[in-house]
């Protein structure tokens, strides 16, 4: 019974890891949509725009790191379950 539960949990974890990998790929597409520093703005407007862009990239980088960490931890847990299942 325990083995069956462990196997179910392992499958669930592997599926979660796979979903997280897909989310990471989708975040790559979002990164491509974000602007970089702009030559169209001048003075304070340029500073504001560039600061905003930096914040966007920073938010995205944090999210990417967290998703990757979650995926890694999920895979670690799945591997541990595999060992338990044998």
């Amino acid at each position: 019974m325990t083995n069956l539960m462990d196997a179910t949990a392992r499958v669930a974890l592997e599926f979660q890891a796979q979903q997280l990998r897909m989310i990471s790929e989708r975040l790559t597409y979002v990164r491509a949509l974000l602007p970089n520093e702009s030559a169209d703005w001048r003075g304070p407007a340029q500073q504001l725009f560039d600061a905003g862009v930096q914040e966007l990239h920073s938010d995205l980088a944090s999210a990417c790191t967290m998703i990757e960490a979650a995926e890694h931890r999920t895979m670690t847990a799945a591997n541990q379950m595999s060992v338990r299942v044998g």
């Binding site: 539960m5 462990d6 179910t8 949990a9 669930a12 974890l13 599926f15 979660q16 979903q19 997280l20 897909m22 989310i23 989708r26 975040l27 597409y29 979002v30 949509l33 974000l34 602007p35 702009s38 030559a39 169209d40 407007a45 725009f49 905003g52 862009v53 914040e55 966007l56 938010d59 995205l60 944090s62 999210a63 967290m66 998703i67 960490a69 979650a70 995926e71 931890r73 999920t74 670690t76 847990a77 541990q80 379950m81």
Partner: protein, 475 residues
């Protein structure tokens, strides 16, 4: 070569570079995508709760992963909100800048017009000097320069040596071109003032649209008629090509490249594509060439200097007569949906044909046309492409077609002008390059309008193209 496009009009007062509009569109897309991803994260989160993990005896690493997902969710929520807000800010900036530009332009235009009327009234003897040195310069100099470089009839009127690099640089300078655009708008007020009309009356006539660029061009043509030049004639069909199968233009660049560039071997100035769909009226694409010969007399070319001035004066021109005759030959009636595409004089002809209201105009697409003061009806989808270093565009005055999507680019920004080429920014190849950049643009405004035009003729079961060559009938 500058790759930056500036986009304005389209029913909005916003003026923005292509990059700004692309950024605004992409930021909004990024916000939408991020919100989709947030939904996916929530689904992942909901599948395995910490309680379930504990009951299944799953290692703590998985529980920490749940916390990571919560942080990621928070960061992405911020990202989505921030991206949407920034998209709105970029659009707001474009809108505000556009409003400021519009107000400033209106004030400059009014003040310049009133000043011209007053100067003309009090100092009429300056008329000759002003006429020679001010706004008519682009029309007259343009004809002279083009005659020298491109003309067939009078190739030696001005030699290539004279066409120095310095002059070319001056007339290709965006600041000079813009100044001329403003200047063109005041020559009529000056002329009216010089002929003795009180400045206050000139101001009223100008505001009412009674006097304008067309009246000035008409004046020149009238004077030319006395001197035996600039006289209009009937036209006659010389040659048509055999109808050939064709597919509709799929991109802006392709559309620009389809505009005829007549040569001795292929002198056709008008290209008409016919799209037939059972149960629907035939649809037509009419492509119109630019000026072929800049001569103002003794030429059989219907796309000549005389036609240029007739178009500016809103009078019947040889080129309009040729296009109208070709359209009749192709079976176009007043009910047939038709899209006009033209370069230079072809652009002016396209705008005038749409203005006439005699056709069921489904769209107008012009490049390098002097059509600022030609009133294209508001209900006609219109894309106007202008180079800020193209002198010919300036001859049409300021662009007043507010509903049209106006795309601007400095063709030779930061680059040396090619030697021996007059007004190189006016060349069709340069406008094809702008078309390519428009195709690559992510701007929602641009893609929306260009896509609508590309849909024209889609789904036709038969599509053919025929080209037409018309000549003047000399007296």
């Amino acid at each position: 070569m500058s790759d930056e496009l500036t986009i304005s009009g389209g029913g909005s007062c916003a003026i923005a570079t292509d990059e700004m509009l692309s950024n605004a569109a992409n930021l909004l897309r990024a916000a939408e995508q991020t919100r989709d991803i947030l939904g996916a994260i929530q689904m992942v989160d909901a599948r395995l709760t910490i309680g379930q993990l504990e009951s299944l005896g799953i290692p703590t690493a998985a529980a920490i992963a749940e916390t990571d997902l919560d942080y990621a969710h928070f960061a992405l929520s911020q990202l989505a909100d921030r991206a949407e807000f920034m998209s709105g800010l970029v659009r707001f900036a474009a809108q505000t800048y556009g409003l400021g530009e519009a107000v400033a332009e209106s004030v400059v235009r009014r003040v310049a017009a009133d000043a011209a009327a007053v100067i003309g009234f009090f100092f009429p003897v300056w008329a000759v000097t002003v006429v020679v040195t001010s706004p008519l310069l682009p029309i007259l100099a343009g004809i002279a320069v083009a005659t020298a470089v491109l003309g067939k009839a009078n190739p030696l009127v001005v030699d290539h040596e004279w066409m120095s690099a310095q002059l070319n640089e001056l007339i290709s300078d965006p600041a000079f071109v813009l100044a001329l655009r403003h200047g063109v708008m005041t020559v009529d007020e000056f002329s009216a003032g010089a002929s003795g009309v009180p400045p206050a009356v000139v101001s009223l006539l100008s505001a009412a649209g009674v006097i304008g660029l067309a009246s000035s061009a008409g004046l020149i043509q009238g004077a030319g008629g006395i001197a035996g030049v600039l006289k209009e004639t009937p036209v006659t069909l010389k040659h048509t090509t055999e109808p050939e199968p064709v597919t509709a233009a799929q991109s802006v660049e392709e559309r620009v490249k389809r505009i005829p560039q007549p040569t001795d071997a292929h002198p056709e100035q008008v290209r008409i594509e016919k799209y037939e769909t059972p149960g629907e009226p035939d649809q037509f694409e009419v492509y119109i060439s630019g000026t072929v010969d800049f001569a103002v007399s003794d030429t059989t070319e219907s796309f000549d200097g005389t036609s240029n001035l007739s178009l500016a004066a809103a009078r019947p021109s040889g080129s309009i007569a040729a296009v109208a005759a070709a359209m009749r030959e192709a079976g176009i009636t007043s009910n047939s949906p038709v899209t006009f595409t033209g370069h230079s004089q072809g652009a002016a002809a396209a705008a005038r044909l749409a203005e006439s209201g005699e056709y069921n105009t489904a769209g107008v697409f012009t490049v390098g046309g002097n059509i600022g003061q030609v009133v294209i009806p508001d209900d006609v989808p219109t894309i106007i492409v202008e180079h800020t270093d193209d002198l010919v565009v300036a001859a049409g005055g300021l662009q007043d077609n507010q509903h049209a999507l106006v795309v601007e680019r400095q063709a030779y920004g930061g680059l040396a002008l090619p030697a021996g080429e007059a007004v190189p920014a006016h060349h069709l190849t340069q406008y094809a390059e702008t078309g390519r950049l428009m195709d690559q643009s992510d701007s929602v405004e641009l893609q929306g309008d260009a896509k609508r035009m590309a849909l024209f003729g889609r789904g036709a079961t038969t599509a053919t193209v025929t080209s037409y060559h018309y000549e003047r009938v000399l007296p």
